[in-house]
Symmetry: C2
Subunit: 223 residues, 2 copies
């Protein structure tokens, strides 16, 4: 059964543009292509061995994901989120994640466990000072919160928001610093949820967003 699904996934393999977009997405998210950098069609296309047309399709995909920005007749650039972008981003997250978290009592146990597990993982990794992977667990935590809503459209959009936020973190050079404070915060949220105090958990999540936004915006607008 799973082999069938696997085979189908292979059959419906991505187009060249899709594959190029995936590769570029990784490079952007891991910082190899720094925010603000201009991506030359000729240089990238030559390096990857694809034609300009195909490359431009890949650019369109990433532009739609807000990882790249397109300026007419000037080219595409790796996005450099501004303070206003971050405020916009957190306004969206507040609505989506708090709204989804309020569904806590209406969802399956499997969904609830998907929220708890990443927090345990983040705690364990934080104790080992593995902040990179602790950060990944944090994202999983928030993805699972959105997942409570059971809407692929909402989850997909949230993934785009998370990716954009990663860029903002990079610009603010805040990859590891801030992660130390959110771990206990998430722990508290899960604790409140387990005690049935959903409203208080939502309040905690809101406070977390306030703190994170303020910190990030501050660093972004400092320069």
């Amino acid at each position: 059964m799973s082999t069938l699904a696997q085979g189908k996934a292979d059959l419906e393999r991505a187009s060249t543009a899709q594959k190029v977009a995936d590769m570029l997405r990784e490079r952007v998210l891991d910082g190899e292509l720094a925010p603000g950098l201009r991506l030359s069609e000729e240089a990238i296309g030559g390096a990857l061995g694809v034609s300009r047309n195909t490359l431009r399709e890949a650019f369109r995909l990433l532009t739609r994901d807000r990882l790249l920005v397109h300026e007419h007749s000037r080219g595409v650039f790796v996005r450099r989120p501004s303070g206003d972008d971050v405020r916009d981003l957190y306004a969206a997250r507040r609505v989506i994640e708090c709204g989804a978290l309020r569904l806590w009592n209406d969802v399956t146990e499997a969904q609830r466990e998907a929220v708890r597990a990443p927090v345990r993982q983040a705690v364990a990794r934080a104790e080992k000072n593995d902040w990179t992977r602790a950060g990944q667990a944090n994202i999983q935590f928030h993805r699972a919160i959105v997942g409570l809503a059971r809407s692929t459209r909402l989850s997909d959009e949230s993934d785009r928001l998370f990716a954009e936020l990663m860029l903002a973190f990079r610009v603010a050079q805040e990859i590891n610093d801030f992660y130390q404070t959110y771990v206990p915060w998430n722990r508290r949220i899960v604790e409140l949820l387990n005690n049935g105090a959903v409203d208080q958990a939502v309040d905690q999540l809101l406070e977390y967003f306030d703190a994170a936004e303020q910190d990030l915006v501050g660093r972004l607008e400092a320069e």
Copy 2:
């Protein structure tokens, strides 16, 4: 001042692909291009006088907006939303709009008025049996609710959800029928908001979503 902004908007005019995409979007939304229809690259490109490459970029844009679906080596088709799509759509709307509506007491008076006005408009148009434009006012109502969050990202995504929902309405041939029931519903919601009963307004909104989803899914899965 506004003329300057207007001029700037004109200067930063869309690319050819963007303009083609806008034109096709209209045709899809007003039903001229029916759900399920296949869009031939050659036919459309020839009729519009643009090259295949440019047209394909336009298709990509609309695919990203979920108005078209792309099938490898088969072409692009006007999306035909399924019952599952509608369920997914409403799950997202529940989270977004209810979450945004809870901000009622934290926003400016101008934002609140932007929510009330479309309802008055819808009532007036409904009395004149102008259901098409009453439906447009309804969408404005829901757009304004999302606007309470003050996030362009959230508003943009919601616009995509609304557009997709319009397609579902078309498939269900429910353009005008259902509109008669939501007008009084929206009226009640605004009344509750004006009385400061935000939580009850959210509950009413949820019930409205339940009813609308059930009705739409029922018609969609009937065929």
